[in-house]
Subunit: 249 residues, 2 copies
Amino acid sequence: MKKKERQQKIIDEVSINRRVNSSFLSEKLEVSEDTIRRDIKELDDRGLLTKVHGGAISTIQKLYHYNEDVIYNRENKVRIALKAITLLEDGMVIIMSGGTTNLILAKLLPKKLKATIYTYSLPIAMQLTEHPLIETIFIGGKIHRSSMVTTGIDVIQYLSNLRANLCFIGVSALSLEQGITDEGYEVSLIKKAMISASQHTVYLATYNKLNSILNYDVCGFNDIGTVVTDFEPKAPELKAYKNAGLNLV
Amino acid sequence: MKKKERQQKIIDEVSINRRVNSSFLSEKLEVSEDTIRRDIKELDDRGLLTKVHGGAISTIQKLYHYNEDVIYNRENKVRIALKAITLLEDGMVIIMSGGTTNLILAKLLPKKLKATIYTYSLPIAMQLTEHPLIETIFIGGKIHRSSMVTTGIDVIQYLSNLRANLCFIGVSALSLEQGITDEGYEVSLIKKAMISASQHTVYLATYNKLNSILNYDVCGFNDIGTVVTDFEPKAPELKAYKNAGLNLV
DNA sequence: TAAATGTATGCAAAATATTGCATGTTTTGA
DNA sequence: TCAAAACATGCAATATTTTGCATACATTTA
């Protein structure tokens, strides 16, 4: 029996029973206890089980995990997310759009927060399953491959019947002239539906989204409520926005 | 220089430049081009870069990836999934339940298969986004944390309006007396709805699900259509099932 | 289309990894 | 506290993997 095969059997054994000891495995798999110990050590290093005195115990494994290194401008998004979290209270009903800023927000939500969250983004929904007190409702529809969100009439219709306290919208582009715009027609409609379903809307925008205009309107400048961004409050680029009456956090 | 170290250097090189060719790497790392090619092939298999004629190019990193090592009895499930795939044809409308066997099936689906797939499992939906020709529709609802599927009246209602060619159901328990049963009430209702929405139903069952009974009925023994399992066709344990008229693949 | 360049595969030598034992140390639990 | 069990480590025999070469095949490009 090869090493790989043997290690797989150890993993199986550990996942069936909560715990397994080296002497038992040594006998069952017909190798010395030293070999078993070395296997267990290696599997522990790979995070597949936990080595204990006498054998190994199972570790709760995540089926899916996401690679944060892939996210562009991650540091700034973390700062935005942390600011956005201060706006939350227990018991809120929240709608979240897609995008990596909202994904980071989902990850950073306090574990003790009680809330009901509606989303149509697969990664965000996955992330929210790790929060024990958050009830997550996924809004179904046709999946858009690259952005991993659902779109279509089903989503808009569902949102039209919803009442939420707050929604978090990832901003694609923000300008003084056009307000918030998006590059996709479908997404712009969904975001509009989110806005009208919520008492308050919070826009999450990294600084590189400022002063740009895309093809589809989401929200005119005068209707924008709160924008959370990662610019220094005194940065000159923000002055014009503040002067125009925007509530920047 | 060890293999691992060398492969890391190849990855580094590819991520700095967009592309690197084998002859350059052969000279720089002082090994034959054959070795470089073998390294590149292996790294490609692991998804860390993309092999092309003449060398390798960088691959877009996935935001989410799942850990196959976590899946119990993975080898058997792969065999079941491969058998199940032979039942598919282009243009089919398919419903998939949750579970790791279906997840593996989703992963192994031929990249050239054209199909429309309905699912209520987040991991399966994520997996399906990697198939360019598959249109995926996610059935929304309240998310059940540990199994990462949606449940509730919304799901059942949605399924009741659906007509599909085929559905794949992960089996929790199968017995001669009770047929297919499940441990959750909600899940059993959803599976029943899937069955009545589909022309044909395919049950995926690893051998350890045989001869067990759980609390909620999914499908009586006489109504079971096709079961795909990983037992040897001549195994004595299957005899009773075959004698009772079950179509085992 | 032909030459040049890149690729796949089998093979044997060399490199590397695995394993069980011997030895001494640490941990456990009565 | 002390004996028994579990553990870590070095080592040599053994098993496996890696590697470059030779050969034949495929792809590119001038």
